[in-house]
């Protein structure tokens, strides 16, 4: 029984690590623009697709052959393949490249959506960017479906062995990497100059502007960081579940948004806490109560938390100003 509980906790923490990474994207944007970025779940999806694309370019013989046939100057990839797939160092390097390129490209995609879909609406009523984001989400999902494929298998890169309690290399990798990223982001926002600028912007945009902070770059940066973290989670999801699909972002998106609210939206540590909590609740609910009702249990807990703490776990309750 003990074994079983710990195994379920491991499942929950792994899932929670991914939720936390995605939830950060929601909470960052919300903190600064007070906007629920519905397109964020598609950043997660895009990250998975781009990551798989890069991975296949580096390690898949058939894909390389097809690409080189069209773009001969990429022929060097074919010779690098044995290095990437053959040795441990090559493998680590390949993972770094995959995550790096995917995070940067997805971050740029996030900045693009901000520039063209949200910035023109910055002074519009609050629900406008929400609907615009929804439009982007629909667009990106259909673009992936129509222009790429509805689902593509993701090769398993790490060895499958169980260290006990269901602790496998992939789970260690996901948990450790997400904890590192969460720690780095937390330090980044609380100690660096740019982080300060971000906090200042979220407190009072106009005042921050008057203090010489370039609001537009801060917002653009926010829209880079969030999607980049989402992309990392997207590749995790691909590696962990073994597939990327055009609609893979939908449920993790809802759950992570829930996690962000659970922790107190706009609050970075709240998003992390909420993400891990939600993952664990889901795993335990599924393992001990009913796999069919696991989401019901998660949402019921969320509603109860919000009724007793209307600002989320780490957020302060709303102050009414009279």
């Amino acid at each position: 029984m003990f074994n079983y509980i710990v195994s379920q906790l491991v499942n929950g923490v792994t899932l929670g690590g991914m939720y936390a990474l995605i939830a950060l994207g929601y909470t960052l944007v919300y903190g600064i623009l007070l906007m629920i970025n519905f397109a964020h779940s598609e950043m997660f999806m895009s990250g998975g697709y781009i990551g798989l694309g890069v991975l296949n370019l580096l390690s898949n013989k058939a894909v390389q052959a097809a690409v080189v046939a069209r773009l001969p100057f990429l022929a060097f990839l074919q010779s690098a393949r044995t290095f990437f797939t053959g040795s441990t160092i090559g493998m680590i390097l390949m993972l770094l490249i995959v995550f790096g390129i995917s995070a940067v490209l997805t971050g740029c995609l996030g900045m693009l959506t901000e520039r063209f879909a949200y910035r023109p609406l910055r002074n519009a009523p609050r629900l406008c960017p929400l609907i615009s984001a929804l439009g982007i989400s629909i667009f990106l999902q259909n673009a992936a479906l129509l222009w790429i494929d509805n689902s593509i298998p993701f090769p398993s890169l790490l060895p499958t062995r169980d260290f006990g309690f269901g602790i496998t290399p992939i789970r260690i990798f996901i948990i450790v990497t997400s904890l590192i990223l969460l720690f780095v982001l937390d330090r980044f926002v609380s100690t660096t100059r740019i982080g300060k600028a971000m906090r200042a912007t979220s407190q009072d945009q106009d005042a921050a502007g008057l203090m010489g902070i370039d609001i537009n770059s801060v917002i653009a940066l926010t829209f880079f960081i969030g999607p980049a973290l989402g992309a990392v989670a997207g590749i995790f999801s691909g590696m962990y579940y073994g597939v990327v699909t055009y609609n893979m972002g939908f449920f993790p998106g809802i759950k992570s948004f829930t996690a962000a609210v659970l922790g107190g939206i706009g609050n970075l540590r709240g998003a992390m806490l909420g993400g891990f909590m939600l993952g664990i609740i889901e795993a335990l609910a599924s393992g001990f109560i009913s796999s069919g009702y696991k989401d019901v249990i998660a949402f019921v807990i969320l509603i109860i938390v919000l009724i007793f703490r209307p600002g989320g776990l780490l957020g302060e309750s709303v102050v009414e100003k009279v």
């Binding site: 509805n150 073994g242 795993a283």
Partner: protein
């Protein structure tokens, strides 16, 4: 008041535009029929409903190809050309969702030249759409919906060529016992197909003395099965029975088997026809090795006309694999075409689409009796195919192989 005035005007413009478009539509249609009369041809449409862009696309697109093949074959037949008939297909993409299926069904029945529908695949969709077909007196032959309820609704217009889950589920249980399995963990995918299939399986498996360690269900379109896997691992079953389809984007079979094997549950997954697709193996990779699936019908190579069908299919669609229900879709189209030809011979080609013609098509389909690709085709009083063969398949070296037990 200005705003509302504008709005009223706008509404009128929209309606006028719609009317205009319809008018043009009518005109272009009549133009084509006039053109047809000069060449003496009557174009008749066969609807092809299934998941074409989303959902279980392997079964939808495969059937789409099979129906196209059947229609092209039919158009070459001398009795069809003599009657001056030309068949064409109309696609209806239901995306494996009931509501989209009802919309597709309505678009089919909107077509004046429609003689019948081959479809749909998912049981939810077929059941929802069947009400539309029944109301509009359109004959619909499902090629892949195995939930028994579809033909138990008392609709005279609904048929199917594949065998149902009240045969498939128990056969699966039988085969599992024969393979020496005693303990099973059951999972369904919260779809009517999955829930129906596991119910039939469970009943028979318990009857035969098997033990069910747990019953769980997964949510549609979700891909995290790790908690389910951990639970199954703690129960140590001999195999896992999954009621659902293969497709990863609907959160199902391929993902489950992959996560089971990676989670250290190295027992085979067994399922129904929904798993029996080449995509299941390509999406799950090595994890699918040793998995089992029951499926109505026999392997194409073993069918009486199977080789001819496979050759024609491969010639027409090079590089495409034949999916599990393609032969059934071909037979469904054949049943429909044969019925239409019969009605046209008796009443004249121009009367086929009249209300009386539609009734005659139903009667003719109900009286079908011919040797199809999948074996002899004939329908019982419910509209189910009387030929109910179920075959067990196993993944061996990355391909489905039929098993003799």
């Amino acid at each position: 008041m200005k705003k509302s005035m504008k709005f009223v005007l706008l509404a009128l413009v929209v309606l006028a535009a719609a009317a205009l478009v319809i008018g043009c539509g009518g005109k272009s249609d009549s133009a084509s029929t006039e053109g047809d009369t000069t060449t003496g041809k009557t174009t008749l449409t066969i609807g092809m409903g299934g998941p074409l862009t989303q959902g279980d696309v392997a079964f939808g697109q495969g059937a789409q190809r099979a129906v196209q093949l059947a229609v092209e074959d039919a158009n070459k037949l001398p009795e069809v050309t003599e009657l001056g008939i030309e068949f064409k297909t109309l696609d209806g993409d239901d995306q494996s969702e009931a509501e989209k299926g009802v919309t597709a069904a309505n678009s089919f029945v909107s077509d004046r030249s429609l003689v019948g529908v081959v479809g749909h695949f998912n049981s939810t969709v077929s059941i929802a759409a069947s009400k539309v077909y029944n109301e509009n007196n359109v004959t619909a032959i499902s090629y892949g919906s195995t939930n028994p309820d579809l033909t138990k609704q008392g609709f005279k217009t609904i048929f199917r060529t594949c065998a149902t889950d009240d045969y498939q589920g128990p056969t699966g249980a039988d085969d599992a016992i024969k393979l020496g399995f005693k303990k099973v963990a059951i999972i369904d995918d919260s779809s009517p197909y999955g829930q129906g299939l596991v119910a039939e399986f469970e009943k028979k498996f318990k009857e035969l003395g098997g033990e069910v360690t747990s019953k769980q269900s997964t949510q549609q379109k979700q891909n995290d099965f790790t908690a389910v896997v951990t639970k199954i691992k703690s129960e140590r079953p001999d195999f896992v029975y999954f009621g659902g389809t293969y497709a990863a984007d609907t959160g199902a079979g391929a993902l489950l088997t992959k996560q089971l094997k990676e989670g250290g549950v190295s027992v085979p997954v067994m399922g129904g026809d929904g798993l029996y697709a080449a995509d299941y193996i390509s999406e799950a990779g090595e994890a699918s090795e040793g998995d089992l699936a029951t499926c109505p019908g026999m392997p194409v190579e073993l069918l009486p006309q199977g080789q001819a069908f496979a050759d024609a299919y491969k010639a027409k669609f090079p590089g495409k694999d034949i999916a599990a229900f393609d032969a059934y879709a071909y037979d469904a189209a054949q049943a429909l075409i044969k019925a239409v030809v019969k009605v046209a011979q008796e009443n004249g080609a121009d009367k086929v689409t009249s209300p009386a013609g539609k009734e005659a098509i139903q009667a003719a389909v109900a009286a079908s009796s011919f040797d199809g690709v999948t074996g002899p085709i004939a329908f019982d009083e419910n509209g189910d195919n009387t030929n109910r063969v179920i075959t067990l398949y196993k993944v061996v070296d990355g391909a489905w192989v039929a098993q003799e037990l």
